[in-house]
Symmetry: C2
């Protein structure tokens, strides 16, 4: 019988932690630690991995900006292409490091027990709608902070940019963060899953594309939330579980107040009630909001279990022994 | 019955032509023209695409160099990681543009005739040997030309670099160009091929990795010739044909001399004889050498047919009506 399938969404800290600059050495060390935790999940689960790319794509956009001036004068790319480059980069690191752990310590492949399980990275486009209200109201900050002087030049060079003032910290470009609709390469992902591979897919929330009336797709300047895209991936692969790995061991009520209390288990109805009451506190304004939204969607779409925890606790959480577990 | 399989190796000019800087617009236009030619091959052949990445990885390395100084101070990556980033970038462009042509004009998928054939890009590592003499004698120039003053700084910042003087044009870093041994993700490629997908794989000659005694692989600073890696890909997928697409319609004897003569058809023995005699002239010192070497290897390993021609003539050449055809 097939082992059940889990989609694991890795937060930024799985690759670049807190104040790190994101050197190759740092990323290799962090991915190695994360991959060791994923190894603990593999004996009981088939695994699809997705991941954020915030710091990586931020660095790449800065490097392109730096290289666009004399004496370099190299052409910069739009955000969809930058996204594809970070999918290659992070996919390679995960595929290489996790693949190496599988070679030395991994279980045999289901279809060919003479071989170990292998990893594949699929370059992934994710369809968004041009009618998404996010395109009218870009909110996701990307790239560097600018001074007033720099902003005037940036506005001249890029009249299509939306730039907002970030109180006290300068100016920053914002882009739309539309809802993901469909993993465009879902057939490719499902085929490789069926054959027993571990997949890395939809990195950085996927390369955002709009679907044209004739069914073709066109890249668009936007950033898709990686947990919401991970939910689509979990849905499109008919995963049983969705594991959202981040930097807290569980979801907390009244986070960072004297009443803070970790939650072991919630139903969708309870999450919705807590969300209405604002019970998750400040943390919700950061990254917990999209995670809970993704959790609710996955469970309403037929998923059985969402866990929210750290990479270190992922295997235990999937066993019901750690983290926050959310059920229908 | 399965259609026969062809591995198509796209030269740099399929993405960035001659004096172009490689802007996104230029690359999209060039890839669109190339994809239209590949569409003519698809009715008779299953297709795996590989491609060069010279100008793209050169631009990326310059952008990283530019971004490594104040006020940016972003971390640069090694060549294996830069290679993975260009696999994502070029793979996305080919997958998106060819995929769109398939949506509107493509044949149905073999396994599910209600769908069109789709494209998948696989991030690909290619194994090389640490005993390859190339590591003792790096010859492949990468990145920018440096002045004498710049070279002194570069040598201090990167004591591991080998830098050579390029007569009259300044100084340049050279890296090893070892022989490809094995497409590390060949199982992933073959599984998707079996399921009826068109593949983009081993871009830029693949991410070069060394195989360690325990079977794990580690990235290494090197560049693998994309035609020689394409030959491994053709061998590892048991392709019937290998199409090397470049900027000349066929291979020429006594190239660029009054005795220049295009070749319609050659056997391996004839190629070897011509090579011994130096009959291909100056052109051989450029990119034709590795192409003919790759052709000989493919045909000696069991391949049936190699064509060397332009993208425009690819379909006709595979029908035996254009280009240079090389047979065992």
């Amino acid at each position: 019988m097939f082992k059940p399938l889990v989609v694991i969404a890795l937060g930024g800290n799985a690759m670049i932690k807190g104040k790190q600059r994101g050197t190759l050495e740092e990323q290799i060390e962090n991915v190695t630690q994360t991959a060791k935790q994923i190894m603990k999940v593999i004996p009981k689960w088939r695994v699809v991995i997705t991941h954020g790319n915030g710091p990586q794509v931020g660095n790449l956009m800065l490097q392109m900006e730096a290289g666009s001036h004399p004496p370099y004068n190299r052409p910069s790319f739009k955000m969809d292409v930058c996204g594809s480059m970070t999918q290659g980069q992070i996919g390679y690191l995960i595929q290489n490091i996790l693949g190496n752990l599988l070679v030395t310590e991994g279980p045999p492949s289901r279809l060919d027990p003479s071989k170990k399980i292998k990893v594949a990275t699929i370059i992934t486009q994710v369809v968004v709608s041009k009618d998404d209200p996010a395109f009218e109201n870009p909110t996701k900050p990307v790239g560097p902070f600018y001074t007033k002087e720099q902003v005037d030049r940036i506005r001249e060079e890029h009249p299509d940019f939306t730039i907002i003032e970030d109180a006290g910290r300068g100016y920053r470009r914002v882009v739309p963060s539309p809802d993901p609709i469909e993993i465009y390469e879902k057939d490719q992902v499902n085929d490789l899953l069926e054959a027993g591979f571990i997949l890395v897919a939809s990195g950085g929330g996927g390369i955002p594309v709009l679907k044209n009336p004739d069914g073709t797709v066109s890249g668009v300047e936007a950033v898709i939330d990686k947990d919401l895209a991970g939910e689509r991936l979990a849905n499109d692969t008919k995963a049983e579980a969705f594991a959202i790995l981040t930097d807290t061991d569980k979801v907390y009520l009244n986070y960072k107040t004297p009443e803070q209390r970790g939650i072991d288990r919630m139903t969708v109805a309870e999450v919705e009630k807590y969300l209405e009451e604002g019970a998750f506190g400040n943390k919700l304004k950061g990254s917990m909001g999209p995670k809970l939204k993704a959790a609710i969607r996955f469970l309403k779409d037929g998923g059985k279990k969402v866990v929210i925890t750290t990479p270190e606790l992922a295997a235990a959480a999937l066993d019901g022994e750690a983290g926050t577990i959310i059920v229908p």
